[in-house]
């Protein structure tokens, strides 16, 4: 009897809890799809993956992380503990960590002044970031030298003209 009561309680919780009513999209969605069909995904549990770009912006116990999937970057609001897993952020000199996040998508977040964002529940690193080694572009260096020569030539010619 006690066991049945517990089971009934669990079923009732799953049926009526707000989480239970939401559809989970286990397959990773792209940013274009999410922005274009924001109304459809609003308040639902979604998966999204991409590269961490810019800064991990800590705000107390939480953090803002912007994740770019190659089309757009979306803001992800996560706990500071989850954000600690991020080691590389993408910019000119670095490729950021590649993350897959699962969280609630908001078309216009009530907590964050109407921003389109994702409140992250779990995070998985699917690729490590790295430093990008910059090699000198020899074509550009050659062109630069040729142009410098041309400038020098003009300078010499103007000197002769003055004389």
């Amino acid at each position: 009897m006690k066991k049945n009561f517990k089971l009934s309680l669990i079923i009732l919780f799953l049926v009526f809890s707000p989480q239970g009513q939401k559809t989970a999209f286990s397959q990773s969605l792209n940013s274009g799809e999410l922005i274009q069909n924001a109304k459809e995904y609003d308040g639902k549990l979604i998966a999204y993956s991409g590269e961490v770009i810019g800064d991990v912006m800590l705000r107390g116990e939480f953090a803002w992380v912007n994740i770019n999937d190659g089309e757009n970057a979306l803001g992800a609001w996560m706990s500071a503990a989850l954000a600690k897993e991020i080691k590389f952020m993408g910019n000119y000199k670095f490729r950021g960590d590649h993350l897959e996040i699962v969280g609630i998508f908001h078309r216009a977040c009530l907590e964050h002044g109407g921003d389109l964002d994702i409140h992250v529940q779990s995070l998985r690193k699917i690729g490590n970031g790295r430093m990008v080694k910059e090699k000198l572009n020899s074509d550009k260096a050659s062109l630069s030298l040729i142009l410098l020569g041309a400038l020098f030539l003009i300078w010499i010619l103007t000197l002769f003209k003055h004389k």
Binding site: D55, D115, L116, E134, L136, A141, S144, A150
Partner: protein, 500 residues
């Protein structure tokens, strides 16, 4: 009889154009300093190459066209309009060399967008762009906002009467100081003081928001330049949404409004004449049009129900509206959201705000507040004439630094420029519709380009037709220069072909 331009005209134009190009080349040394600081080798090379090409081109023009003659009105106007085209081409070279722009046309589009302080962009993978190129994108807004010719007048010209002709050609017909060179220097002084204060405010806010200090101040400087010069570029692809910060939004709103005010008004405020802010026709008109257009946007957004809380509606609606009205183009929503979340009423409110613009002699584009104020006063005067007895003498005045009598000449000038802008907005929308874009979207993007705003509803992207890219470039150019110097160059070309 139309006279064919003489060789001497071309020589004078070439000589002063060459000087302006040399000035532009000098500004490219700033990104090189940044490249050296951040250890970015290839970006530094991109700017070396661009400087060399610019100096080569500028030197050749100066040497071949050597003259000591002063500019006349026609030549001054042509120098200005050509300077902007040449600046676009030369300014696009480092962008194109970075590999972040698909074609030279796309790089040219962004260069014109930057110089004209528009903010529409075709950059790819912006989040991995170097500090060096990012600084250049924002610096060209700072240079273009003050005026390319203003730079030359401030730093490279010792004083000649042709200076005023070039100054006027760049859509600045108000002198703050007795001569234009001092006026140009004052414009720079105001801008640099605000740059320091704005960068500090945004940098500190960035640090408090969790950004790394170096990034916070770099972003602060870039965002300031884009906000004060009502440009709208940003170092990250999400624009202002990247920061997820209400404080950042408030500070940028203040800077955008400062950028939309007349430099002459700044001068009077700096001199302690604060009453001018309340009495001036431009600030009054700006206040009224902001309220009116925000009302339209707010009603439209309330109808959609996308922002259920008033605070959200205000934060999203008011920010995009101020950004549009001041001609900045910062966004805290994605471009596609204009199509999916905003209804037509809200979009019309925003288009109206973009079409109106800020103050004359500011860094904004569009019709501008002084002209709207003058047209409104003229309507009021005509209404009074109808209502009052025939013998009554109706005199209308307005306050713009001093009391000014409303003359027919002023009204005519305001109406002509307003009409020219409306035609320009319409022509761009027609080209957009020709390529299959819906009316509202095409009008939105066209107004944004011609009014040098930079808000986008998604039409501006690398896949848009080349003709549309060229159309928007021409709109940005004509809109920034307020037509006169553009008309002059068209007349010059016509005279070259048909003249005797």
């Amino acid at each position: 009889m139309i006279l064919k331009p003489r060789l001497e005209d071309l020589k004078i134009i070439g000589f002063y154009l060459g000087k302006i190009i040399l000035g532009l080349a000098l500004t490219m040394t700033i990104p090189i300093l940044i490249a050296l600081c951040f250890g970015e080798i290839n970006p530094a090379l991109d700017f070396f190459i661009s400087i060399e090409i610019s100096v080569l081109f500028g030197l050749l023009l100066v040497k071949i066209c050597q003259t000591d003659k002063d500019l006349n009105w026609m030549q001054g106007m042509i120098v200005v309009s050509l300077s902007w085209v040449v600046a676009m081409i030369l300014g696009a070279i480092p962008l194109y060399l970075s590999g972040h722009w698909k074609s030279f046309l796309d790089a040219g589009f962004d260069a014109m967008s930057g110089f004209a302080t528009t903010g529409l962009t075709l950059v790819q993978d912006l989040d991995h762009l170097s500090y060096t190129h990012n600084l250049w994108r924002h610096l060209i807004m700072f240079l273009g906002g003050q005026g390319i010719v203003v730079i030359a007048l401030s730093f490279f010209v010792r004083g000649f009467s042709g200076a005023f002709k070039m100054y006027v050609g760049e859509a600045r017909d108000e002198k703050i100081m007795p001569n234009v060179i001092n006026t140009s220097r004052f414009i720079w002084m105001v801008s640099i003081v605000y740059l320091i204060l704005g960068t500090l405010a945004l940098g500190i806010t960035g640090i408090l928001n969790g950004m790394r200090p170096l990034n916070a101040f770099f972003h602060g400087a870039c965002i300031f330049m884009a906000a004060f010069d009502t440009g709208g570029f940003s170092p990250q692809s999400q624009n202002i949404l990247y920061y997820h910060s209400f404080a950042y939004e408030i500070i940028t709103v203040i800077i955008m409004v400062l950028g939309a005010l007349n430099f002459k008004l700044h001068y009077h405020l700096w001199m302690g004449n604060r009453k001018e802010l309340i009495k001036n026709i431009e600030t009054r008109t700006l206040f009224v049009t902001i309220i009116a257009t925000f009302f339209i946007v707010a009603v439209g957004l309330a109808q959609t129900g996308v922002y259920p809380k008033a605070v959200m509606l205000f934060r999203k609606g008011f920010y995009q509206l101020i950004s549009g009205h001041t001609g900045t183009g910062f966004q805290t929503i994605y471009a596609q959201q204009f199509g999916t979340d905003w209804n037509q009423l809200a979009l019309v409110g925003l288009i109206l705000a973009m079409a109106l613009g800020g103050a004359v002699c500011s860094t904004t584009g569009a019709i501008k507040m002084l002209r709207i104020g003058i047209i409104f006063k003229a309507f009021k005067e005509d209404l009074k004439r109808i209502i009052m007895p025939e013998r009554a003498i109706v005199i209308e005045k307005f306050h713009h630094i001093r009391e000014v009598f409303l003359e027919d000449k002023l009204v005519r000038g305001a109406l002509i420029i307003t009409l020219a802008y409306i035609i320009l907005y319409g022509l761009g929308a027609l080209v957009g519709m020709f390529y299959g874009y819906p009316f509202i979207g095409a009008l939105f993007e066209s107004t944004s380009a011609a009014a040098n705003v930079g808000l986008s509803c998604g039409i501006t992207n690398i896949a848009m037709p080349a003709v549309l890219k060229v159309t928007y470039i021409l709109q940005m150019w004509a809109g920034r220069l307020e037509f006169m110097s553009v008309f002059t160059i068209l007349g010059f070309l016509f005279a070259s072909i048909k003249g005797k």
